[in-house]
Symmetry: C2
Subunit: 221 residues, 2 copies
DNA sequence: TACATAACGAACCGTACGGTACGGTTCGCC
DNA sequence: GGCGAACCGTACCGTACGGTTCGTTATGTA
């Protein structure tokens, strides 16, 4: 009985059949949460046998892990092109990033997977939360830090610690929106206008971190 | 105020015995998450019979609901005294509030209950998340908004929308710390120094919202 | 055509949990 | 003292789910 964790982690590329099954598992997870994803239910919905599920993923934990890995493998792209921009152009880049961040966090699958990982947090032996953070969140964070560092290099921003600066950026953009969505709370009218929220957050961020040269251009919308 | 007294009395509707059982349920919930709270387990741990549980709380959902309202009823206090302060004193009040906010969110029972509510979010018919938000989060939010409004009245702060201002305050203070704690992630060294984090966040907040008169005093730590 | 590999589908098992029923015990009240 | 309500402890039932086994059905290869 090979450890499902190993096989799933090593070959992150699944066969087309497995990918279809995992996609189906994701949709089951979106509606119904963790309780909505049962082995029998997945087998029925995906027209496969439970035997295959256990052969491919080892056990239920392996299946959950594979779902997370599978989803993370789809969100790989977007290696932010590092071109020099003037202050206004750089500001637009920040706004775009903030907008994307909000959109991703508010997405159905993101919410479902985060709920799943949080539900497993009490079980320290199955590090699903860690996995989710490392494969999903860290890549976004890295992109954000790189974007801010590029801004510093081009003298649009001023800060010492890129990590701290990105943390502030994240806080200004996301606030408690992510948590409330996770709780099933509906957004107030206006809060769901992610473009406007991103604009406002970037304005605030630039008032805190904009360089003297650029702060006027950066902070005004 | 008859209304408030009425609801407050109804909230603490539990007999001492029931309160003891609910306290026990909370500790079961802290270790083991939702899976750790079973009717049989609670009956055994609290030395009561399952029959009594079902008599008092109806069913398991009723029990969960009772746990949430019970915990919320304990977090009632702290009706922020509304005294006029100079800029430095007001700033200290903000820092204290931010520190308390972080401490509460990082507490064991808060994390356990938030995880519970998030886990139930996929089931729209049992509005546990709503309940948690309304009884716990809203009271904190209301206190925060009142604190900011007091600051505006005393000309320490300047803003139009108190709700938006508090949202920014929350974002600067909490960032992604709450979510990462919910995911079971450990805080980086330095991040667990809530006093320092609160100081830094308040400095940033005052740079954004401090009045011209007070911004110098408010923003320097 | 004969054989092998893989997967399907259905039946099955053990367990854990929500919910119920029942006998025995304690405690307050008349 | 006697009565009834509340409660405890336990045994029990039905169900749902994770995991296993097995007979059958392709599909591909020599």
């Amino acid at each position: 009985m090979p450890r499902a964790a190993d096989t799933a982690a090593q070959d992150s590329d699944f066969t087309p059949r497995q990918a279809a099954v995992l996609t189906c598992a994701l949709s089951l997870l979106v509606e119904g949460g963790e309780k909505g994803l049962t082995t029998a239910g997945l087998a029925r919905a995906a027209n496969c046998s439970k035997e295959s599920l256990y052969k491919w993923f080892g056990d239920r934990d392996g299946l959950l892990e594979a779902v997370v890995t599978f989803q993370a493998s789809k969100v790989r792209p977007l290696g932010a092109s590092e071109s020099a921009l003037d202050a206004a152009g750089y500001r637009r880049r920040l706004v775009t990033f903030a907008h994307e961040l909000l959109s991703v966090l508010a997405g159905d699958v993101s919410l479902a997977l985060n709920r799943l990982a949080i539900g497993q947090a009490s079980r320290p032996e199955s590090p699903l939360g860690r996995l989710l953070v490392e494969r999903g969140k860290h890549s976004v964070t890295a992109r954000g830090r790189a974007l801010l560092s590029a801004g510093r290099r081009q003298r649009h921003l001023e800060f010492d610690d890129a990590t701290a600066a990105y943390s502030t950026f994240y806080g200004l953009v996301v606030r408690d929106v992510h948590l409330r969505l996770l709780l099933g709370d509906a957004l107030e009218p206006g809060e769901d206008d992610f473009a406007a929220q991103a604009e406002a957050a970037v304005s605030q961020f630039c008032r805190l971190y904009g360089s003297q040269r650029s702060v006027e251009t950066l902070s005004t919308s």
